[in-house]
Symmetry: C3
Amino acid sequence: IGTQSTVILAVMDAACIKSCPPLLDYKTEKYVLTRNRRVGAFHRLLHLGIFCYTIGWVLVVKKGYQEIDSNPRFSVITKLKGVSVTKDFRELEEKLWDVADFVKPSQGENVLFLVTNFIATPGQVQSVCPESPLVLDGRCGEDLDCSAAEAVVNGNGIKTGKCIRLNATHSTCEIYGWCPVENGSLMSKPLLNEAENFTLFIKHAVHFGKFNFFRANTLETSSETYFKSCRYDPIHTPYCPVFRIQDIIRKVGHSFEELSILGGVVAVHIEWKCDLDHSVALCKPRYHFRLQEKKNNFRTATYYWNKERQEYRDLLKLYGIRFDISVTGEARRFGVIPTAVSFGTACAFLGAATFLCDLILLYLDEKANFYWDCKYEEVAPQQ
Amino acid sequence: IGTQSTVILAVMDAACIKSCPPLLDYKTEKYVLTRNRRVGAFHRLLHLGIFCYTIGWVLVVKKGYQEIDSNPRFSVITKLKGVSVTKDFRELEEKLWDVADFVKPSQGENVLFLVTNFIATPGQVQSVCPESPLVLDGRCGEDLDCSAAEAVVNGNGIKTGKCIRLNATHSTCEIYGWCPVENGSLMSKPLLNEAENFTLFIKHAVHFGKFNFFRANTLETSSETYFKSCRYDPIHTPYCPVFRIQDIIRKVGHSFEELSILGGVVAVHIEWKCDLDHSVALCKPRYHFRLQEKKNNFRTATYYWNKERQEYRDLLKLYGIRFDISVTGEARRFGVIPTAVSFGTACAFLGAATFLCDLILLYLDEKANFYWDCKYEEVAPQQ
Amino acid sequence: IGTQSTVILAVMDAACIKSCPPLLDYKTEKYVLTRNRRVGAFHRLLHLGIFCYTIGWVLVVKKGYQEIDSNPRFSVITKLKGVSVTKDFRELEEKLWDVADFVKPSQGENVLFLVTNFIATPGQVQSVCPESPLVLDGRCGEDLDCSAAEAVVNGNGIKTGKCIRLNATHSTCEIYGWCPVENGSLMSKPLLNEAENFTLFIKHAVHFGKFNFFRANTLETSSETYFKSCRYDPIHTPYCPVFRIQDIIRKVGHSFEELSILGGVVAVHIEWKCDLDHSVALCKPRYHFRLQEKKNNFRTATYYWNKERQEYRDLLKLYGIRFDISVTGEARRFGVIPTAVSFGTACAFLGAATFLCDLILLYLDEKANFYWDCKYEEVAPQQ
């Protein structure tokens, strides 16, 4: 209480000696002071427990004095870079892959697909041809096995009713569909088998709306040439989000060579934990990688119309590694209400502690009756 | 209090008979015990109310003793399967559609588009041609109606200033743009009208970061062949996320035939509610379907350069059903702080109940003055 | 207390005059009433503070009586419309762009890319050719500068070991890769430089699962023709989410002409703040725009197989503006538990206020000893 208020109170005191409004009377609970060491010690122990819980657990460990925003909005821009080095590049049969070939979609969003292998079936047209012998339901011995107008289960078309001999051992139903059917087998040596120099650049920004706090995973000052040469390291270069593909694949416990044959799905999770009461410099993204699927492929086709307006297509079955980038974040800052609730809870528990001790004193203690009579003063208005 | 602490307290008692630190005195509030049944009953009623609210509502119904994580991160992998069976497949005019034809984009992300109908305009080049008579602003009576260098509103190009007679009834402005303009009308019988055997496989996983709890909607043990034959059923096969397209469309209250002509947008919402204090087996995804739009189409084009390096394109206006898959989740687990806040609030309310009863006793009761004098013991230090 | 309960209590009173269960005794704390104005005033000040904090801050400002759902799920449907008007459209060298040309992907999801400029390299095949002189690592003086079988850093292929003279001043290594290499320079006048009439239609809906509250940014009653002519205005047409591209670019502080040369990334953030205790009509979306990147491009290619089954491709390096649309929301509604916690905290603080005043009265006041003796009534059981 400052000097000013002291003066005000002194004036008030002088002004109303006896006729003062009872509003300023101070009422304090009357206590019974017992020298009961057992209950007293227990009471102090409870106080200590509440104190430790509130200070230690709620405030220090759980930071219960802070408001939390765990719904940041974010945007992700990705860029895959690299040229696939095939060892015997002089044989023209081998192919060189660049970014336009192996990244789909190429816009650089938060899901991207790195093509590592494919089966191409160019020049398909709608006509009749034998089903692939790889499709179980397409195999046949005679025409009766191929009921006309029925779709081949997990196959490529509709049976016409004929059974066609492919070679000495295989016969398959003739189908109506895109012909010829996909028949190429996957190379066990993937087309894109050298990814040492491939890099994935993940630029993103988070915005915590509650605190209007904005943060990016790249330093504003960084020049473009910096990102061309740097590689991510959590300690030395936390603001260089450039990852070598091989490092990512190794972190999820596989080799690139292994995954590149049949493809896979790798979840890239970026986590922000920002304590805005501390230095903002400590608020750095953490990157987690996890293999979600050991197989991944999809089919895509490009369509053409020739001069007779007949449609044909080039079918591609692409195998590859899909990167699913997700960002989550949690920002915390001192807030009045969470602090109040934390302390309010502690206050309420202090009351509960007294209640508990009273129970012991009044019901379990040897002299319970004596304490009862001391605590409760029976009064009765005169009837 | 265990035997050990009893011993400690006995020693303390003996050591400090009168000179003991007052820290271990136990102070308990002195109460005035009144036989006022009305206020007493009201007091007990309030206690009962607080008790019921805390146990019944806060703890049982709202599970206020649990911490909540409602921000799981998740990843979705989708796969559409099927071959469109056209009834008169022997007429080569009809077309057979497979996955590469009717799914766009084909990567299997959380938004996918099932093409059901289209208008193709192959071989467009940049030149001049009459605007489509379907565009209102393109119609004209004479050259003056077509102001040169002005774009046709909602049209396909820029007017050159000429009006061209198409037939006896229609004249349209000549435009500069991709020619010829799109003019095909939509078939009222959609191209993809049989989707009985189409299935949508939605594989996804959720990860609740707060509890480090991971869950997928497919059983780890399930073989790939299992997913080829199973269909989703909430009771019998909750871990087989394979849906027939027709079933989904029927659930949103339409027929596939109806939606497939002009397309539509179907929101697929997957909801997880996991109580980690109970058996994890009860934590299953629930699927909700909702029709968001009754029309859906977009235009896409493929570009070519012929030998004279002239560019031309094939334009496709695709109609279809877009599936928007979203995942939300909420996991709950016992937490110390929410429990403490729940009980702390209850304790605080017990104090408030006493305050309320005091108000009645001291201001509303017939003998209020008597109780006032009993409760408040006036003291004044000697001046 | 109603008349019924009064009757019940009167009966209870009559039934048990003295032998009544002590359960219905009302016990009230005994208080010591002091005329200490200083502490009394301080006590009232604390009460006033708690009252103001609870009513003013917690309930009015922070609306602590409400439950919050800040995890809505949402779906976004976008549509870009417009025809690029090039001024001298009569020169056939210039190109007219329409939606199928400049929007990628074209499905209308929450990320869309508006192509504004490009470099085309048609007809690339896998063979040997000199590297582009723009790639630093590809320049050479003699064959020794080009180590065979090594990839050109940030280049287009693998060195064959030869150094090739391009012209009087430049020599580059011969590479194996897609040939010829991309060499076109960007036009400083972008291809898509007139976007006055381009519009972005952003249709979306949010669903707050906790309150089962659904809301869209378009009026259900609006006809399709309404959206063809309306433009967004926060006051007059809040439910017309049609934005002119130029307006968006201007809002982020740039001109369309400037951004269209090298592209850029614009974050479109839609924010819902809904107070369900008030009129739902007040719950409108707010749109925020922010420039995230000043450069944006990606490469894409289309593949062909000629009759000799040789593969070739048309490479496109596309520059453009990417729109990243994100939706966040927060809905609030009266909830029993947050209200209880707010009031419970206030109750607990009232107790803490008394404790604080007691400290002053018993330790800091001039007559502290006197008050101590009044407050604490020492009792001791007879040994």
